[in-house]
């Protein structure tokens, strides 16, 4: 890593060595055999070296050295046939937040677009002071500062800007102009005229070509040279820089201004179906590699291990294939964890009711679990394969659910094979749960798109709830009595009246009862309650107890759908 002379006096004599990433990696993988014992013996040397380095280099690299030791001590072996790339040090994966220049994304995009054949990013080759590790950190720090200061200047706050900076700010800078379209997240601080400017710039900037023009690399390079001295963005300073400012600079553009209709779930699905999947052949190869492990999984499941799959890409098809090819002759349970209404209870219920043919209810999941445990221990011929897609889904990731699932999986005749996707999924399990699960980890990177898994997600870009919610609402209501429909209508109307009130808690039960009585819909609060229970079972309403203990009723559907619903209802009547 070659760095220019330091701006602090003490660092003037620093010696720097360029260490490319490959070398670091090779070093780590070569050292696979290094042992703790050796580390202990070399500790004194290491400490000395560490101290020396600490004087010379940034924390970033020192941390790397420590990591190296740890990684070496763990005995990573690079010669993995499947190649899960585990020889990446943690520092690359987990690092501090670094301040980002706002239009960096557009720049990178244009870079990627410009260099279709020669895949090397021009920036990295032209700016030797940038490590591949944090390519933008040093320059970004400066830019964030400039932009920030610039904003301050507009508000005539600038008083302590260093001379150098002021001089540079005075110089005409094409960057700052393009910068003006960006604003802090607290938009109330923005001036009105600036907003207007943004929109004009926005209309101009519609085409990506413009962005390309705005961010021509040569200009940046000359600027970079000029600012060389200031670019010594120390990691510590960067850290505080990134965390101190509450404002985040992003552009104010919204999807509405894009004049693009929002896609609903169905059209999205159709569009994606028509779009060809990139690298289908390679993905197929990858999947075949994983499929060759199926029988090994079976063996290990039978030997008392449970299997968890991780890696990028949907593992649903893989598990499904496993199921159809090997589990046809045995009792098995498939759990779609990504399903938004899945609960542990429903998993346990399907085991007791359908696998064990038990009719009856249980007071608590724990009782149910106990029952299942007992049955499986009594009857050794009983065995069950459980496949859970997305064990880390929203509904199953809770501590209690995981505890129950772990206990379930620890039964010798229940074989669990599950998949996880979330980056923090392993945090769900503590040592006790891990030992209950008795996992064997398998990396199955498939690169398959998460079609099913994301279809239930309320994505920002997909039109919310859409036709599905409305049609189901209509469907359910049509199966109800006229009075019940009236009751629901009353509630819906009331909710729409209050739609401008963001802190609307819902309609209290007493008020609702009163209104229903007045409309001759119910004759006692018992009938109303019975009706509400039915609604609740269909997930048409939600009840919530307020601070005063009063029950509030709410329809968990957004207002536009509700309006549509009422219109449709009016048509019908």
């Amino acid at each position: 890593m070659s760095r220019p002379e330091g701006m602090r006096g003490s660092r003037r004599s620093l010696q720097v060595k360029f260490v490319p990433d490959e070398d670091v990696l090779r070093h780590i993988s070569d050292d696979t055999g290094t042992k703790v014992r050796k580390d202990k013996a070399q500790l004194s040397v290491n400490v000395k070296r560490f101290v020396k380095k600490l004087e010379n280099i940034s924390d970033n690299e020192a941390q790397e050295i420590l990591e190296e030791n740890y990684v070496a001590a763990l005995g990573i072996c690079a010669q993995d046939p499947v190649g899960n790339g585990s020889n990446i040090s943690g520092g690359e994966v987990y690092s501090f937040q670094t301040p980002k220049r706002s239009n960096k994304m557009a720049e990178l995009a244009s870079q990627l677009a410009q260099t279709p054949e020669k895949n090397v990013a021009p920036d990295d080759s032209k700016c030797p002071e940038k490590m591949a590790k944090t390519p933008q950190s040093s320059s970004n720090f400066m830019w964030a500062e400039i932009v920030w200061k610039c904003n301050l200047k507009k508000k005539e706050f600038v008083s302590s800007t260093p001379y150098r900076l002021r001089k540079r700010l005075a110089a005409p800078d094409p960057y700052l102009e393009s910068e003006s379209e960006y604003s802090a997240s607290c938009s109330e601080e923005e001036d009105e005229d600036e907003q207007k400017e943004v929109s004009t710039v926005l209309s101009d900037q519609k085409t990506p070509a413009k962005i390309k023009a705005a961010s021509t690399p040569p200009l940046r390079n000359s600027l970079a040279k000029k600012n060389k001295e200031q670019k010594m963005g120390n990691l510590v300073e960067e850290y505080f820089e990134a965390h101190s400012s509450s404002k985040v600079l992003t552009s104010d553009r919204t999807l509405q201004k894009l004049r693009k209709r929002r896609l609903d779930q169905q059209t999205l699905h159709d569009l994606l179906k028509n779009a060809p999947l990139a690298y289908a052949a390679e993905i197929r190869d990858l999947n075949q590699q994983h499929e060759s492990l199926f029988s090994k999984w079976m063996l290990q499941l039978h030997l008392g291990f449970n299997i968890v799959l991780y890696g990028l890409g949907s593992k649903r098809d893989l598990l499904e294939k496993f199921r159809t090819s090997l589990l046809q002759d045995s009792v098995h349970l498939v759990v779609n964890g990504y399903f938004p209404s899945i609960t542990v209870r429903s998993i346990l219920n399907s085991i007791t009711e359908e696998v064990l043919d038990h009719i009856g209810t249980f007071r608590s999941p724990l009782d149910q679990l106990e029952f299942i445990t007992k049955r499986f221990k009594e009857d050794s011929s009983l065995e069950l394969y459980v496949l859970i897609h997305n064990l880390d889904s929203q509904m199953l990731r809770g501590e209690r659910s995981q505890q129950i699932l772990a206990q379930l999986s620890s039964l010798p005749s229940i074989y669990l094979i599950a998949s996880i996707d979330h980056i923090n999924a392993p945090l769900m399990w503590d040592q006790a749960k891990l030992s209950l699960y008795n996992w064997l980890w398998y990396e199955t990177t498939t690169f398959n798109p998460y079609v099913e898994e994301t279809s239930y997600e309320n994505s920002l870009l997909v039109q919310q709830s859409g036709s599905l919610a409305l049609s189901s609402l209509m469907h359910v209501l049509h199966s109800l009595t006229l009075n019940a429909r009236g009751i629901f209508r009353l509630l819906a109307q009331h909710q729409l009246e209050k739609k401008d009130n963001p802190s609307y808690p819902g309609l209290s039960f007493q008020d609702f009862y009163q209104q229903c009585r007045e409309a001759f819909l119910v004759n006692s609060d018992l009938t109303l309650r019975a009706q509400l229970t039915e609604f609740r079972d269909h997930k048409l309403i939600r009840t919530k107890r307020g601070a005063d203990g009063v029950e509030y009723l709410l329809i968990p559907v957004d207002d536009s759908t509700l309006t549509d619903f009422l219109e449709k209802e009016d048509e019908d009547v």
């Binding site: 014992r37 677009a113 895949n119 999807l255 028509n274 690298y279 046809q328 980890w441």
Partner: protein, 706 residues
């Protein structure tokens, strides 16, 4: 979301199934049956061995506990003054069991404990876990459920009403518990001695009720306090004894319970063996023995030990890893069929098929061996199967002998190195073992320095070390070390002789001292200089000579017997070396895999278009990679519009032809849809989440990965 599938066909038996799996998985199809059987029997042996070790290690602890319980209980029995005195203060006898942080291993300890208690002290043992007892009510329910059930077990089914009582769920309170206890003990009292069953005769007249809190730290303080206060009120009616399982330190009792409550307890502390010692014993009994033909390679052992030291301190997990090693080895190595006891080797070697012989010839260690042979033998080995089998048998026996000798000498060397200052070769024998497995230990710096240190040992230390070595070598069954033992004994006698000789020399030195009587400064200087001279060119004393000899002899033993295993021929048969596989399965890094997949997809998708040097990424990468790479350039919040635009810029450039041909709305929509999919995939993976801070923005949840 749950779907149950039931097959129509009849199920096969489980054991057949496993064997079947093993068969269809190993497509080498060589001796799979036999391999599977060997694997299973080996694992069962090892499992029972570990259980035995565990039992032995806990024996001391359990004995102490049992004696404590019987003491507290006999007081109650005899209504001695001490008991009544304690009654006055309402103290509950309590055992605090400090078990260490490896919570996952505690299961076995507690199971053993409750078994021992039920056999020797009392039938009334209840084991409570924090997760079952969120409130005092649940705790009482659980407690009474367990106590009454065991009561039913003892009294079998002679009184039906008892069963009904527990089914009707009587009110769970202390008085009902006491009345139950009274009725139970009275019943046993009234029974005639002849009618008594063995189980009750082993117990005392009124056995104590033992309540074990498995994980005391996880209990709610309120529940614990309430339970202790309530039960202390009734201690004179119900001989209750508590056992706390503690993972951290005994201080936790006082931190969890206020003084007013903890004063109601009469606590005695019990400490279990530390998990590190437990591991050492396991390694000693499983790896450093010739009882089991299966061995771990250096890296594998290192991975297992590091998982233990860095991650969980769990001996159970270590054994689980060991099991995985065994399965992997027998599964992946077709020649592992020869990994059996010495007695079976001959039969198995001669029943090898031609393909298996070819497998042997393909082993790297065997190739090295062949290359060293003369040409005639080389041809024989490579072409003649029966000759190869003979040779294999011999080599396998050699390997066996090698391992037996290796262990003995390793122990001897460990005796030496563990007494050196700073332990250059490690304090534990497992470290030494790893060092020896890794490469020729005598070529390492650490070995050199430890020999230097050994050359400076004093005599008493050296003699005790030698005595220990003799003991170790004597204990070995083979005749291999007879000569070595003799030699060491000879050294010992020489040391003995030396002692007598040195006493004589002491006398001879003393006249020299008399010379110094001269007070002349010049002479003094001269004598001092002379002394200095003589010290510099001093001849080695006899003791030093002998010491050198001893160290050299040990060194020669080490060089002869501690050859690293991978230099031995046919080591692949006995040693498991798949450290990478093991690590991938036990100590996986899901986040790293995701990181690699997103940053360098060509690692997985072997396509030239994806390949690119430097830290960059090709614009032809999968959508999610591009979207991910773009989002890395953003701060806390990401504007979706910008993101979409950047994405479409990249994608359009990658698909230039399409963009030119149909720049219609259609293409735009497809890109939009792909973007939506990629973003929602990132959301599923946990990199971003929707944000309400600003319209059409998402928040970034991670840093780094640049």
């Amino acid at each position: 979301g749950c779907f149950v599938f039931k097959p129509s066909t009849k199920k096969r038996r489980l054991s057949d199934k496993i064997a079947h799996d093993f068969r269809c998985t190993s497509n080498d199809s060589e001796d799979t049956e036999l391999r599977f059987v060997t694997c299973q029997s080996l694992w069962n042996q090892i499992k029972s061995e570990t259980e035995k070790i565990q039992e032995n290690l806990n024996k001391q602890l359990l004995d102490n506990l049992v004696s404590f319980l019987s003491r507290s209980h006999s007081d109650f029995q005899e209504k001695t003054t001490e008991w009544t005195c304690r009654m006055k203060f309402r103290e509950i006898p309590t055992a605090a069991l400090v078990l260490g942080v490896n919570v996952t291993d505690h299961d076995l300890t507690f199971r053993g404990l409750s078994d021992v208690l039920q056999d020797n002290i009392t039938p009334y043992v209840a084991l409570l876990e924090a997760k079952d007892c969120p409130g005092i009510k649940n705790l009482m329910q659980k407690l009474m459920g367990q106590l009454m059930k065991c009561d039913i077990d003892v009294d079998s089914l002679e009184d039906e009403d008892c069963v009904q009582v527990s089914q009707n769920r009587i009110r769970c309170s202390m008085p009902s518990l006491i009345s139950w206890y009274d009725s139970v003990t009275k019943k046993t009292d009234s029974e005639t001695p002849s009618k008594k069953r063995n189980s009750s005769s082993r117990h005392w007249q009124s056995p104590p009720v033992v309540v074990i809190f498995r994980d005391m730290e996880s209990f709610t303080t309120k529940v614990l306090q309430d339970f202790i206060v309530i039960s202390s009120q009734h201690i004179h009616e119900l001989p209750l004894v508590l056992i706390f399982g503690i993972a951290t330190s005994p201080m936790i009792i006082h931190r969890l319970l206020p003084h007013s409550v903890s004063s109601l307890l009469c606590i005695e502390l019990f400490q279990s063996l530390s998990c590190k010692e437990h591991l050492s014993t396991i390694i000693d009994k499983l790896l450093l023995t010739s009882r089991f033909p299966f061995k771990l390679g250096e890296k594998v052992l290192q991975v297992l030990i590091n998982i233990f030291l860095y991650h969980d301190f769990s001996v159970q997990n270590f054994i689980k890893g060991f099991q995985l090693c065994i399965v992997e080895h027998f599964y992946s190595q077709p020649l592992s069929v020869l990994c059996c006891h010495l007695a079976d080797i001959k039969k198995r070697v001669y029943s090898l098929s031609h393909d298996q012989c070819e497998n042997i010839r393909r082993l790297p260690s065997f190739r090295r061996y062949v290359e060293k042979q003369e040409s005639g033998k080389q041809i024989e080995l490579l072409t003649n199967d029966s000759f190869l089998k003979e040779e294999t048998e011999k080599l396998l026996e050699d390997l066996h002998v090698y391992h037996e000798n290796y262990v003995q000498i390793l122990r001897c060397l460990h005796v030496f190195t563990s007494s050196l200052p700073k332990y250059p070769l490690g304090k534990q024998i497992r470290e030494l073992h790893c060092a020896c497995l890794e490469n020729r230990v005598w070529e390492t710096e650490e070995y050199e320095s430890s020999l230097q240190l050994a050359r400076m040992l004093n005599k008493t230390d050296l003699v005790t070390i030698l005595q220990q070595c003799v003991e170790i070598l004597m204990s070995s069954s083979g005749k291999e070390f007879d000569r070595a033992v003799e030699k060491l004994k000879e050294f010992l006698t020489q040391f003995q002789n030396l002692e007598e000789a040195s006493q004589e020399r002491d006398v001879s030195v003393s006249p020299q001292k008399e010379l110094q009587k001269k007070t002349d400064l010049y002479h003094l200087q001269k004598t001092l200089l002379e002394l200095k001279e003589s010290r510099r060119s001093k001849k080695l004393t006899k003791f030093e000579m002998l010491r050198f000899e001893v160290v050299d002899y040990i060194d020669s033993l080490v060089r002869r017997y501690l050859v690293p295993a991978d230099e031995r021929t046919l080591q692949e048969i006995a040693y498991f070396n798949g450290a990478a596989v093991l690590r991938g399965h036990l100590n996986a890094a899901p986040r790293t895999a995701l990181h690699t997949a997103l940053n360098s997809p060509h690692w997985y998708l072997k396509n030239q278009a994806l390949r690119c040097d430097g830290g960059g990424i090709s614009n032809k990468a999968p959508d999610i990679c591009i979207v991910y790479k773009l989002h890395l350039e953003c701060g806390r919040l990401i504007n979706l519009v910008d993101w979409l635009e950047a994405f479409s810029t990249v994608v359009m450039a990658a698909e230039e032809t399409n963009a030119d041909a149909a720049s219609s709305d259609q293409v735009d929509d497809v890109i939009h849809a792909r973007f939506i999919r990629a973003v929602s995939e990132l959301e599923l993976l946990g990199f971003i989440k929707p944000s309400k801070q600003k319209t059409d923005h998402v928040a970034r949840l991670t840093w780094g990965g640049c």
